[in-house]
């Protein structure tokens, strides 16, 4: 859009004019008193406003947890909704402190965009949804199809790879936002819609007639999604990364937002370190952090599992069963694994 274009032009000029050394994001956030967090803002289960207007989802929780750790108050977050195309420029130019917008970790992004991926808060994969009336049973039957996709995503690239690899042709229809993509599919501008699988069910449920579309069985890619920070600020990188690790470690240690009060008397050295009662964990990252930073994050936001079940788990509209999936803890057959907090 024109507005969007002007925005990227402004962001590009921010790269031109910003001072050479502005490494201290942690200090900036603390002196500002709010964390500015880039999210999708329109993606149920990841970041979308609830009825009261509060941003909810696993991506939003990362922002809340970082704010709790860094500022002592999880509510001190300012959310900036970003489209897939805008997000990296917004982060690189300093418009947001953290980008937590279902963003896939890839080599090119890591190496050339001036950004660093911390860790993953959701492991996804790409899939297709098609009009039921077409009678398509597999992604391999999509030769020649028109496919709605969100522009500026890995989704767009994986789809290109997949069709090329299978010697098939397709016509992409690239839109800016999720609602536009859905409207395009629903209106019949395309035969199929592709996105990260976690979203397909949600998008399908938003169709006027959900039974008119079916989700195909194939998963065509790996989409490790996680929070991203600017390159060149190691303290901030460590802060965000370890807040996420702490939420995972808390789950492993059985520490949750509801029992964290009683855990303060625990003798387990691991729990003591997590709560900041032993050793210099948070302080080790930066003297500007309070040593109970992880405790604040878990207390105010919850551990990894709590956040998952609250927003994308079986009992939510997204309804993704965690048990037995890649998103389970490593000790339960999944791949979610955090290094030791010591």
């Amino acid at each position: 859009m024109k507005i969007k274009f002007i925005q990227s032009a402004v962001l590009a000029s921010a790269l031109v004019f910003s001072g050479a050394a502005s490494a201290g994001t942690l200090e900036d956030v603390q002196s500002r008193g709010t964390l500015i967090c880039g999210v999708s803002g329109g993606l149920p289960g990841f970041s979308a406003p609830d009825d009261a207007g509060k941003m909810q989802g696993v991506d939003a929780d990362v922002c809340y947890a970082v704010a709790a750790a860094v500022l002592g108050d999880s509510s001190k977050v300012q959310f900036v909704p970003l489209t897939a195309k805008e997000r990296f420029t917004a982060l690189a130019s300093g418009e947001v402190d953290v980008l937590s917008r279902n963003t896939t970790h890839t080599l090119t992004r890591d190496a050339t965009l001036g950004i660093n991926f911390t860790y993953y808060n959701f492991i996804d994969g790409q899939g297709f949804m098609v009009k039921k009336s077409l009678g398509v049973k597999s992604a391999k039957d999509l030769d020649g199809a028109r496919i709605c996709v969100q522009a500026g995503t890995t989704t767009e690239l994986n789809m290109a790879d997949y069709f090329r690899q299978h010697g098939m042709k397709f016509t992409p229809k690239g839109y800016d936002t999720s609602p536009q993509t859905r409207e395009g599919f629903e209106g019949g501008a395309c035969d199929a819609l592709t996105s990260d699988k976690s979203q397909l069910a949600a998008i399908r449920s938003e169709l006027k007639d959900p039974s008119s579309a079916v989700i195909l069985p194939e998963t065509i890619s790996k989409e490790p999604l996680g929070p991203v920070v600017r390159q060149g600020d190691d303290v901030w990188f460590n802060t965000v990364k370890w807040v996420l690790y702490a939420m995972i470690n808390a789950e492993e240690l059985g520490v949750s937002s509801s029992n964290i009060g009683s855990k303060s008397s625990s003798d387990d050295p691991n729990v003591k370190r997590l709560l900041g009662n032993e050793g210099e964990m948070c302080k080790g990252i930066s003297a500007n952090l309070s040593n109970d930073c992880f405790m604040q994050a878990v207390k105010q936001v919850g551990n990894f599992g709590e956040s998952y079940e609250r927003h994308v788990g079986e009992n939510t509209p997204i309804g993704l069963k965690r048990e037995g999936s890649v998103n389970a803890l490593w000790s339960k057959g999944g791949v979610i694994y955090a290094p030791p907090l010591r």
Binding site: M1, K2, F5, S8, A9, L11, A12, L15, V16, F17, S18, A20, A21, A84, K85, F88, T89, A92, S93, T108, R109, A111, T112, L113, G114, I115, L134, L142, D143, G144, A145, R146, C148, A151, G152, E156, L157, M159, A160, D161, F163, R164, F170, T171, P172, K173, G174, Y175, D176, Q180, E183, G184, G187, G188, A189, D191, R230, Q231, G232
Partner: protein
């Protein structure tokens, strides 16, 4: 003794000599600007380097990892085509929709502007309702509205295309027409040369008709003659030469039609939205231009017995042009810039595929935004230049 002017100049001290001062100031200003720009450039590159971004145009030669749907003037091939080709496709699509938009909006704008001054109350009110509706609702909403609420629901899916006859089909992918393929290259060339001759001939006919009219006042019905000639002669020629071309018709494939020529749906919706929106503004310019022509002119024509329409066409509009053209140039530029809203209908203009997708995948914000800005600048200056030239001509022929 009177000093010669040159000697007079030589006596002024250098620092007060206006010519010297002008040059010095300009040199200083330009040096400051260059210095400022070099600081910006240096600062930028070091900022980016610090974040691990290398700035440059190297990415242009790399293979673009994504597909582009609508590339009517370029053979874009996924896995082979490079980023510079993405730029080319983007530029082509931007220019394509802008040119069609400018012509259509001008035509519609003139009609609206004239209707707004119609002697008929109902027509006048309807035209002003048109202008108000379009000017008071933002264009992105219009585009989305035409796309999602009007054209997508109206048109059938490719499988159930509207069959318009003569190999024309209409569906949610746009309009499909037969595609002429050359059967016999010798007769085909003769065919095209004769067609060209026809056009040139009509051109001369027009000059002759005008001369004769100026000299004798006799009117030659040029428009209807030309129309008839253009409709009949090519068909006659075509069969006389034994059908040198054959037509490839669009056929239904598994999902969409293949073959034929496709006038893309996204292109159509964007073109339509830009046209009807900009026409509202051009209509206002036309109205203002017509009102600026003194009433005496049309009254004089009327008293000579000239009717309303010929008065408008022959007396009022030629004089109104000089008022209409300058603000209309800026509407043309607006239309071109507004075409950057293309992504709403998934049309692949330069902002969508180059300043959007390519930027997102390469992170080369600076070169990409600079190129895009440069392109819009060039298009704007080019459009202004052409129209200013036209404007001058119109002004000169004014009596």
């Amino acid at each position: 003794m009177v000093k010669k002017p040159s000697q007079h100049h030589a006596n002024i001290p250098l620092h007060r000599n206006p010519r010297v001062r002008a040059v010095v100031f300009q040199v200083v200003a330009i040096s400051l600007l260059l210095w400022f720009l070099s600081i910006i450039a240096g600062n930028t590159v070091s900022n980016m380097a610090e974040r691990g971004i290398t700035v440059g145009l190297n990415f242009m030669g790399q293979v673009a990892p994504f597909e582009i749907g609508y590339t009517p003037f370029w053979d874009y091939e996924l896995g082979v085509s490079k980023y510079w080709e993405v730029l080319v496709v983007g530029i082509q699509n931007t220019i394509f929709v802008s040119i069609f938009g400018v012509f259509a909006a001008t035509l519609l704008g003139f009609i609206i502007g004239i209707l707004r001054l119609s002697p008929n109350w109902l027509v006048r009110k309807m035209a002003s309702a048109y202008v108000e509706t379009f000017r008071n609702i933002p264009l992105p909403l219009w585009i989305f509205f035409w796309y999602v609420a009007v054209f997508l629901p109206i048109l059938p899916p490719p499988r159930d295309s509207f069959i318009l006859g003569a190999g024309f089909f209409l569906n949610k992918e746009g309009l499909y027409t037969p595609k002429p393929l050359i059967e016999n290259s010798v007769t085909a060339s003769i065919f095209f040369i004769l067609l060209l001759a026809l056009v040139v001939g009509l051109f001369y006919l027009r000059r002759w008709a005008k001369k004769r009219q100026d000299a004798t006042g006799e009117i030659f019905p040029f428009a209807s003659t030309a129309l008839a000639a253009l409709l009949i002669i090519p068909v006659v020629l075509f069969y006389a030469l034994g059908s040198p071309l054959h037509l490839e018709y669009a056929e239904m494939g598994k999902f969409i039609m293949t073959g034929g020529i496709n006038l893309n749906f996204s292109f159509f919706v964007l073109w339509f939205a830009l046209t009807v929106y900009t026409a509202a503004y051009i209509g206002e310019n036309v109205r203002a231009g017509i009102l600026a022509v003194s009433r005496g002119q049309s009254e004089a024509a009327h008293s000579l017995g000239v009717r309303h329409t010929p008065t408008l066409r022959l007396v009022v509009i030629p004089q109104a042009m000089r008022v209409i053209i300058p603000p209309t140039i800026s509407q043309f530029l607006n239309l071109t810039k507004n075409s950057s809203l293309a992504v709403i209908v998934a049309y692949e203009d330069i902002v969508n595929v180059f300043a959007g997708v390519a930027l997102n995948n390469t992170g080369q914000a600076l070169p990409i935004i600079a190129i895009t800005v440069l392109l819009y600048g060039t298009l704007s200056l080019g459009t202004s230049a052409i129209l200013n030239w036209y404007n001058k001509r119109v002004q000169l022929t004014e009596r």
